[in-house]
């Protein structure tokens, strides 16, 4: 008996890190209630809130399996591996030209540190109607590849999701990829409306594709709308309105109204149904207008900060199965630290607890917990050369890897340029958010020099501060990332 928000977290009793897909499928077959985990950005929140069926939980972490994070582009297909992250998509040089809505959608998910862990396949499997990539993939006719213990099957994306957070995926199956057909005739765009510039759950999101004939008339169209129904809603009426018409205002307006008339959204805390209906019409009209004027890619940024310092290089841990009380060894700020409670803790709690207390000469409590759900960024650390939200990383995932925390940002006791700038600009008030900003900012400084204000804002979009109003933080980052000559 507790208040609903006080439900105890699920305990992770066993953590497996299989080395091959076959091993993973075998583990899954042997532990039907086990939860496969990749980026973990949804699952870790679920576990923390104690929702979901099994407790204690067994995790099967797929992220040590080599080769699953590839984006393969062939003549007629793009195939996205199950460990491809949102930032992999966002930073891929060829994808904007091939699958624009997907890259646009991926940039709308969370913040850079979240996108370094969250996978596209995970977004699809979670199957919330608000998940941004779903409408984009739907508009792109994507196919979901599923592998089970003995068989494999392919399911069109529109049939993969069958309800709110419900899919056709069997307990013993894994999604092993998503394919998008390449089609030079297809012209597509994605649009999302949220209640905040970044880290916003979609109020409406949609993907639109059109195919134009020789004389400019629409020969085919796909309009897929999210957050207006339990699954992604394809507006057949809007598509039919367009086909055979020139892509121009009369047909555009008619298609937008047809879609608005066809959907039956609901009220929720973010917006009433009316609002969803009204803005669905507006977004479809604006998207089709962008396609008409061939401006759909115009706002895609040249270079998007991803807060990656190096390529992901996960090492193979020596031990692949860890239980609750097992110790892990992580190189934190250059020092190897061995401490227990590997399976049951997230990386943040492991750093602040067992790791911090493992040796009186080290201090690891600079990373802070502000939300435990990936919203505030106070827990940001660098893992495997990439900024991540340590509240959403199983500690066991860091086993034998490299982690850098705020305590590792100073160079041998001297403040880094960025730290010094935060002091100089009085970008610090209560300071609780500051370690997170400095880790994100340091990753940005390594990734690019002379970032624009838009790039700085994007890099820091996952870090909340309640005291400063951000202006002095932005000034400090701008100053510290200025190249010597620039």
């Amino acid at each position: 008996m507790t208040h609903p928000i006080q439900a105890p977290a699920a305990t992770v009793e066993t953590y497996h890190a299989p080395r091959t897909l076959t091993e993973a499928l075998e583990l899954l077959a042997a532990n039907p209630s086990a939860r496969p985990i990749a980026g973990g950005t949804d699952l870790m929140v679920e576990l923390d809130r104690g929702v979901g069926a099994a407790n204690p939980v067994t995790l099967i972490d797929l992220t040590r399996i080599p080769g699953l994070d590839e984006i393969e582009i062939s003549e007629d297909l793009v195939r996205i591996g199950p460990l491809v992250t949102h930032n992999d998509i966002v930073s891929h040089p060829a994808l904007p030209a091939i699958a624009l809505p997907l890259v646009q959608a991926c940039l709308e998910v969370g913040s850079p540190a979240l996108r370094n862990r969250a996978t596209v396949v995970g977004n699809v499997v979670t199957a919330s109607p608000a998940n941004d990539s779903l409408s984009a993939l739907n508009a792109l006719d994507a196919v979901v590849h599923i592998t089970g213990p003995s068989t494999s099957r392919d399911v069109p994306i529109g049939e993969f999701t069958v309800g709110v957070r419900k899919t056709v995926l069997g307990e013993d199956e894994l999604v092993t990829g998503i394919s998008i057909p390449r089609d030079p005739q297809r012209r597509s765009i994605y649009a999302k409306l949220g209640l905040r510039q970044a880290q916003a759950i979609s109020v409406v999101h949609l993907g639109v594709s059109v195919w134009l004939g020789a004389t400019g008339e629409v020969t085919d169209a796909r309009i897929a709308i999210g957050s207006v129904a339990p699954t992604i809603f394809r507006s057949i009426a809007a598509e039919a309105t367009l086909v055979g018409q020139p892509l121009a205002p009369p047909a555009i307006g008619a298609a937008a109204s047809a879609a608005a008339a066809e959907i039956a959204p609901i009220d929720d805390l973010r917006a009433p149904a009316d609002y969803r209906r009204d803005t669905t019409e507006v977004l479809i009209r604006r998207c089709l207008t962008a396609l008409q004027t061939r401006t759909e890619a115009q706002l895609w940024p040249d270079r998007t900060p991803t807060l990656r310092i190096t390529d992901r290089q996960p090492t193979q841990p020596t031990k692949v199965t860890l239980s609750n009380s097992d110790a892990i060894t992580v190189t934190v700020n250059g020092t190897k630290i061995t401490a227990s409670n590997a399976a049951s803790l997230n990386l943040l709690d492991w750093l602040r607890g067992p790791a911090h207390h493992s040796d009186p000469s080290i201090s690891l409590q600079g990373a802070q917990e502000g939300c435990a759900e990936g919203e505030c960024g106070a827990c940001t650390v660098i893992m495997d050369g990439q900024a991540v939200l340590s509240c959403l990383v199983p500690a066991a995932r860091a086993n034998s890897d490299n982690v850098i925390t705020i305590e590792g940002i100073a160079n041998g006791g001297r403040l880094s340029k960025l730290q010094a700038a935060f002091v100089d600009y009085t970008a610090v008030q209560c300071g609780f958010c500051i370690p997170g900003f400095l880790v994100s900012g340091s990753a940005l400084a390594e990734e690019m020099s002379d970032p624009s204000d838009a790039q700085i804002d994007l890099a820091l979009s996952g870090n909340l501060c309640r005291c400063t109003g951000y202006y002095k933080i932005r000034d400090a980052v701008r100053e510290a990332t200025r190249s010597e000559l620039g």
Binding site: Q104, A271, G370, E407, L415, F432, R466, Y470
Partner: protein
């Protein structure tokens, strides 16, 4: 009264020095309460009742006690005096089935979803959490009064022990001049009913703390709070201990904004340490709240409803104001009676009002308690007063700035409480300066267009721009006769032969909640003693080493602390001249006494000084999606004297963004006594991408005659005027008035559709 004992230096008042605490905060070395919990500490979990209104029939903690690792489960039966409160002891420490004769507050009724039922103490945090889930309770449901309307229309009383016949439990009146005469002289009348929303503090550091016995056997609590000595008073009351057996220390505090003015973990942690020590277990007891526990478990800016009427004559001179103010106190008073007082004297605006009738009250409900939050009732009142004024400008066709010029309070004006304003009313200058800086007389300059959709270009046809203005006062310091005071102690150090002290130590309890108070204290001490800032050591926020400072609230801390530091410095200077080494100066500063308002007329002298603010906002709205981008904010403040101009700017920028969230996106929702979105994923505070494109902080220095070095309080002021200025700007853009906020896209679009059909 600057008493320069020492040599000249430039590290005192007015210097834009870096914060001395910044280095620790950029290296991760600063310790917040959670970081202070030692490795061998026990962990405590507060069990919330989860019952907005219910009677506890039976409580069974046996399963929890038997749970692995659990060392104690504390309940109402363990509390010596089972009640507490900042202004009124109306809240049980724990809801329980036992009631001793030390309190009249029935302990067996849960009135709020986050009332505390038990504290489970265990070897680890996980074990405490597991044990907490095993605490069992039987409840008899009572009628849940989820909001003001429910509470006023029901016979069910939330605090029957008060002996009142309604849930409306505290009220104020103003009867000024002759309303009928005012109405007779009136040409223009503006009426409105305004719904004011909650606001959550959302300080980044959730509640956390630890309790233990110090080396002097004092029961010690380390926690993030706003007033060490008041925490100690409440601890002493509930634990029935003398104050000198208790100690309260604040380590680094991760933001407060009024949200830490009331007790969170202080009493329950100290109780646990006390009861366990009685059993021979002297380990420290620590606890950390999750974000959800923080949002559900502490008070909010009050929601409420204000009906108001404003009359003016043909020239725009105000003839009368009528208003009915009702605030939702939630389940317990916290500081609601005082917040109400502020709203009450603010609802007529910062103007000369010859005739007025104002009735204000607070109502108990089973919703989350209302309490202190930057502005303390002022923002709600100023939203109404300024929106009324802006509507008057539209109705009468008078220029909004001119309208304010002819009505503004000035030196010698009679305030709404029928007494003269304290000296130094700089509002006329602040209004003029803001109008000039904002170029109110000229057309707005172009702003780059925005799109609410990142992948789509701005829809130029749908964008409309507008500009709005608002101004206000906010009291500085405790009001309504509260015995205001602040203590400081300074030690001047040096050799017998030294003409001037070489270093100094400042002892002060004032809370550093992030605003830079301690840096300001040091600079004021440097100015007052002549010792350079770098040679002054501060010993802060510990009841064991400092006298009572009062709270970090009401924009009072720099003002009060500065006066106390000046006093202590001059005492120490005397000692120094007499040859004492160290030369010790102690001082208790007491400002001019204020008065409670007359119950029938509201006459009285409620405050000893005020701060003044005016803001102009330029914005753009996408009229097809309802999204708003603020292009420019001119925030104009008379700060009297900027002790550290960069810190002042930081306070302005930070408060502007909090106000921006309050006005636009922070939409805390409540139903039947439960908060519906107690998370950062559902309660949206602004991120770096959401902030106004430009904030221009205009800092004026018209000395406050009573302020230390002329300083005025300022940290709350930007919060006062933002929402009404933005609503005026939205009206300027679209022709539509909004009598409630936040201006979420769906609310804006619905409003625009209502008018355009």
């Amino acid at each position: 009264m600057t008493s320069v004992v020492g040599e000249m230096h430039d590290s005192g008042v007015g210097a834009a020095l870096k914060r001395f605490d910044a280095t620790d905060k950029v290296t991760g070395a600063a310790e917040y309460p959670a970081d202070r919990i030692p490795a061998d500490a026990l962990w405590a979990k507060v069990v919330f009742t989860g019952q907005p209104h219910a009677r506890l029939i039976a409580l069974d903690t046996s399963d929890a006690e038997a749970s692995p690792g659990v060392v104690a489960v504390l309940t109402a039966a363990d509390v010596p005096v089972n009640e507490y409160g900042l202004t009124k002891n109306d809240q049980p420490v724990f809801i329980g089935t036992t009631q001793n004769d030390r309190t009249e507050v029935p302990s067996n009724i849960s009135r709020w979803e986050a009332d505390h039922l038990a504290l489970v103490v265990a070897e680890t945090a996980e074990q405490a959490e597991a044990g907490a889930a095993l605490v069992k309770a039987d409840w008899e449901q009572l009628e849940v009064l989820g909001d003001i309307d429910a509470a006023l229309s029901s016979d069910t009383l939330i605090h029957p022990e008060d002996g009142l016949d309604s849930n409306r439990y505290h009220s104020f009146k103003i009867r000024k001049g002759d309303l009928a005469k005012g109405q007779a002289a009136t040409t223009w009348v503006v009426e409105g009913t305004y719904e004011l929303p909650y606001q959550e503090h959302a300080y980044l550091q959730p509640e956390a703390g630890l309790a233990y016995y110090d080396s002097d056997r004092r029961l010690t609590v380390e926690v993030a709070g706003q007033w060490t000595h008041e925490d100690r008073v409440q601890l002493a009351h509930a634990l029935d201990l003398p104050e000198d057996r208790l100690r309260v220390i604040y380590p680094s505090i991760g933001g407060a904004f009024g949200g830490r003015e009331d007790i969170s973990l202080q009493i329950v942690l100290a109780l646990a340490a006390m009861r366990l020590a009685e059993k021979g277990d002297t380990r420290a007891v620590g606890s950390i709240w999750s974000r959800e526990e923080s949002i559900v478990g502490h008070h909010k800016r009050h929601r409420g409803r204000i009906e108001a009427t404003l009359g003016a004559d043909a020239d725009g001179k105000i003839t009368f104001v009528e208003a009915d103010v009702v605030l939702d106190a939630g389940a317990y008073n916290y500081t609601s009676n005082k917040v109400l007082g502020n709203a009450h004297i603010g609802v007529a605006g910062c103007y000369e009002v010859p005739n007025a009738r104002i009735d204000s009250s607070v109502v108990y409900t089973n919703a989350t308690p209302g309490g202190a939050f930057r502005g303390f009732g002022g923002p709600q009142a100023a939203f109404v007063a300024e929106t009324q004024m802006n509507k008057l400008a539209e109705l009468s066709g008078l220029d909004p700035i001119e309208l304010r010029r002819i009505n503004t309070l000035k030196n010698g004006s009679e305030f709404i409480t029928q007494t003269e304003m304290p000296e130094g009313v700089s509002l006329p200058q602040v209004i003029d300066r803001c109008a000039i800086e904002a170029r109110m007389g000229e057309p707005m300059r172009l702003a780059s267009q925005f799109s609410p959709v990142a992948s789509l270009a701005p829809a130029a046809d749908a964008l409309k721009r507008g500009r709005g203005f608002a101004c206000a006062f906010k009291n500085v310091g405790f009001s309504f006769g509260f015995p205001e005071r602040c203590e400081a102690e300074i030690h001047l150090l040096g050799g017998e032969e030294d003409e001037y002290p070489t270093s100094a130590i400042l002892f002060h309890a004032g809370a550093e909640v992030g605003q830079g108070a301690h840096q300001a204290f040091i600079q004021m001490a440097a100015e007052a003693t002549g010792v350079g800032s770098e040679n002054i050591e501060g010993v802060f926020s510990d009841t064991a080493s400092s006298g009572d400072s009062g709270s970090a609230s009401a924009s009072r801390l720099t003002w009060m602390a500065g006066n106390s530091i000046q006093g202590a410095a001059s005492e120490a200077e005397k000692q120094w001249r007499e040859g004492a080494r160290p030369a010790i100066g102690q001082f208790r500063f007491v400002p001019p006494p204020t008065e409670y308002l007359d119950p029938e007329t509201g006459a009285g002298w409620p405050n000893f000084t005020y701060g003044y603010v005016a803001q102009a906002i330029e914005m753009t709205v996408d009229t097809e999606t309802g999204h708003i981008v603020v292009d420019r904010v001119v925030s104009t403040h008379d700060v009297g004297k900027a002790i550290n101009p960069v810190l002042v700017e930081g306070q302005i920028e930070g408060a502007v963004i909090q106000a921006h969230g309050y006005a636009l996106s922070e939409n805390l929702q409540s139903k039947d006594g439960f908060l519906l979105n107690p998370r950062f994923s559902g309660y949206l505070i602004p991120g770096i991408g959401d902030i106004p494109r430009k904030v221009e902080s205009v800092i004026m220095e018209e000395a406050d005659p009573l302020g230390p070095f002329g300083a005025r309080g300022m940290a709350e002021m930007p919060m006062m005027t933002y929402a009404p200025a933005l609503v005026a700007a939205l009206h300027d853009a679209t022709g539509v008035w909004f009598d409630t906020f936040p201006l979420t896209p769906s609310r804006v679009l619905a409003g625009l559709k209502r008018v355009t059909g």
